[in-house]
């Protein structure tokens, strides 16, 4: 599965490179340079995040995870996860490291989906630090309010879909 995804990814990269190359040589080299630079910039953060997530999972109090957000925790677990997601600060490293750790320590998948959906949609620090300065505040609050039910819907759909 992991190999298939890598393969698919690189086929897409190949197609995009061919299209860029057909536009001009300059577009192709610029794309390669930007993409490569982005990897180098992200690499240290990814290393700390991935290695750290294993330790965060180990350090997490497992005794608390399972009763609060385990597969049997139902709607209460979903609600707890959503509040936790909205309050999680930091970028993707922190959010996904915590989500991965919760999953490893016995959290239920719909609950973890609710957590990462809430965190992606309305982590409070991101609304205030990123979104409000860059966009009309009215749109930000409109978006955040219509997003409130979405993590519940995501968790519900995940439960309905069952494990793939």
């Amino acid at each position: 599965m992991s190999l298939a995804i890598s393969l698919l990814l690189w086929i897409v990269v190949g197609i995009l490179m061919v299209i860029a190359g057909m536009r001009s040589r300059g577009v192709l080299t610029e794309g390669l340079r930007h993409g490569g630079g982005e990897v180098l910039r992200l690499l240290p953060r990814i290393c700390v995040g991935v290695v750290g997530s294993g330790f965060i999972a180990e350090a997490m109090p497992k005794a608390l995870i399972v009763p609060w957000i385990g597969p049997q925790s139902g709607l209460t677990g979903v609600l707890v996860s959503i509040v936790a997601g909205a309050l999680t600060p930091g970028g993707p490293v922190v959010g996904f490291a915590i989500a991965a750790a919760a999953l490893k320590s016995g959290g239920g998948a719909p609950q973890v989906i609710a957590y990462s959906t809430a965190w992606a949609l309305y982590a409070i620090h991101r609304l205030v630090l990123w979104e409000v300065p860059m966009m009309p505040a009215r749109l930000v609050w409109l978006r955040a309010s219509v997003s409130i039910p979405l993590p519940f819907i995501a968790a519900g759909l995940a439960m309905a879909l069952g494990k793939p």
């Binding site: 890598s6 989500a99 949609l121």
Partner: protein, 162 residues
Amino acid sequence: MIVAFSAAAYVYARDGWDHFRAILLSDAALLVDMLPKVLGGCLIGAFVTLLLPREKVARWVGHESGMSGLLIATAFGIVLPGGPVTAFPVAGAFLLVGADAGAVVAFITSWTLIGHARTLIWELPFMGPDFVTWRLLAALPLPIMAGLLARAALRTGLAKAP
């Protein structure tokens, strides 16, 4: 980063060196496995930025765009690369060229929930393909729902147009 280091120190103090090394090695293996994906994801992002006709997309998501506007905005959210520094200014620019607020809400929701950059570079390595597929399926209808809710809120006067 502080959280990661203190968690590592705590595990070391509690379980000793052998356990610490076992976790470190399994995490390192995961890291090696994810590197080609990260590189691929970054390259896709870079090329999409160069090849995507942003002005055209903005015209497709105007006030009278209806359901197709929401679908286009959602698709655009999936392909738009980059972090908040790229996405929010693009959304702001959409509003300036006359995009419908519901479409802009659908775009941001799509970018943050099912955007390829976050999914490929961050979520896939951390959470594994099974979980990611499951979550993506559950998240797929959400941008459209958010766009429809935003339009309904504006129409009924619950919210004012930005």
